[in-house]
């Protein structure tokens, strides 16, 4: 009799354990079923990752089959887990596919806009009547001890602003043309300010202006990999900061042009 009670107790606790385990595995199974339901009805997922969807279904079927056997809770959880993962992987692949399609479309749009912008800028420069004349003059760059340097003066930016003014168009276009004729050359775009105001802010302003020039060049089709951007702030003034004329000279963007192999000098 006592042994019967003991055995009864053992059986009960075994049943309880099994009950707990199967409750948990039932939950995992339900989640996997839900996950599979969602991917198998999504045409994008089916198109992008059919194999993963099939495997999600196979693993799920296995988990469901095992769930009718006593003591297989661990296996049920395992296959439900695998099924869940396959569904998630399939969903990620579908998203990636959609992103790549979007990228291809946007890339075309970007090229179209880039062409339109280049033509518009060319036209506006011609309307200013100076384009031909500018064409005759070679790139207004000067040979310095650092190499070929082209300077964009402060008049191309409004005070404290980082956007290039339309008057910068001609200079920028000339630079684009130069870089297209010399496809191996790279440039470093360097921003400088005068010494009025906070040094840290000047450093940031100089960098942002150099970046604006780089962005504009990129928009006109120059590969961003050919451009470096650097802000020097108040450092390396061209003239004394004492006079307003000197300060105007110091507010500038310099474009350092590499040698023919694309090699740029060290930072100054």
């Amino acid at each position: 009799m006592p042994s019967l009670i003991r055995n009864g107790g053992l059986l009960l606790s075994l049943a309880l354990l099994a009950g707990c385990a199967s409750q948990q595995s039932q939950q995992v199974l339900t989640e996997a079923e839900l996950g599979f339901q969602q991917v198998k009805e999504d045409p994008d997922v089916l198109r992008s990752a059919p194999k993963d969807v099939i495997r999600a279904g196979e693993s799920l079927a296995r988990a469901e089959r095992l769930s009718s056997y006593w003591g297989s809770a661990e296996d049920v959880e395992h296959y439900a887990y695998l099924s869940q993962r396959y569904s998630q992987i399939a969903r990620q692949h579908a998203e990636l596919n959609l992103n790549q399609e979007r990228l291809a479309k946007l890339e075309l749009e970007r090229e179209r806009l880039q062409l339109a912008l280049r033509e518009a800028k060319l036209l506006s420069a011609q309307q200013q009547g100076q384009w031909l004349e500018e064409q005759m003059v070679s790139l207004a760059a000067s040979e310095t001890d650092r190499g070929l340097v082209m300077t964009l003066g402060d008049v191309l930016f409004d005070a404290g602003r980082t956007e290039l003014k339309p008057s910068a168009n001609r200079t920028i276009l000339k630079l684009v043309q130069f870089l297209q004729i010399n496809p191996r050359r790279a440039i470093r775009i360097e921003g400088y300010t005068d010494n009025s105001g906070v040094a840290a802010e000047n450093l940031e302003l100089s960098r942002a202006r150099a970046q604006a020039v780089a962005d504009m060049l990129a928009d006109l089709g120059i590969d961003p990999d050919r451009m470096e951007v650097k802000g020097y702030g108040e450092a390396h003034p061209l003239a004394e900061n004492a006079s307003s004329k000197g300060r105007a000279q110091n507010r500038r963007v310099e474009i350092l042009i590499s040698d023919e192999q694309g090699k740029l000098g060290d930072y100054r």
Binding site: E74, R85, I89, E95, Q114, L117, P166, D215, D219
Partner: protein, 116 residues
């Protein structure tokens, strides 16, 4: 009779263990999946990558102990954890590319709109 049943059950359970072959192929696949995820830039900051690495380590430990059933379970899960981590990283990169391209297009539109 009870004892005989227990013996039989024990034998069955033992047989079950002994019958699991060593999952060498699965271990190779898993190691490869983890390596590939790492190569595209998945690191343990991504939850699935952390899980993959932990489970692969567990599977390797179980292989050493000749507990092949557990080794296979951990290795199979780790393989899919790693594949999910890889897919997430690649996806994140494409999302960033999209954002950058969208920003460029916005900038181009703005410039075109500002021209005289």
């Amino acid at each position: 009779m009870n004892r005989r049943l227990t013996l039989g059950l024990t034998a069955l359970v033992l047989a079950g263990c002994a019958n699991d072959p060593a999952p060498h192929e699965q271990m190779r696949l898993t190691a490869q999946a983890v390596e590939q995820a790492r190569a595209v830039g998945a690191d343990p900051q991504i939850e699935e990558m952390r899980m993959a690495e932990q489970k692969l380590a567990r599977a390797e430990k179980n292989m050493g102990e000749e507990d092949y059933k557990r080794a296979r379970v951990f290795a199979e899960q780790a393989e899919l954890d790693a594949r999910l981590a890889e897919a997430k990283v690649v996806n994140l990169k494409s999302q960033k590319q999209l954002d950058a391209l969208n920003a460029r297009i916005t900038r181009l539109r703005k410039q075109l709109g500002e021209l005289p």
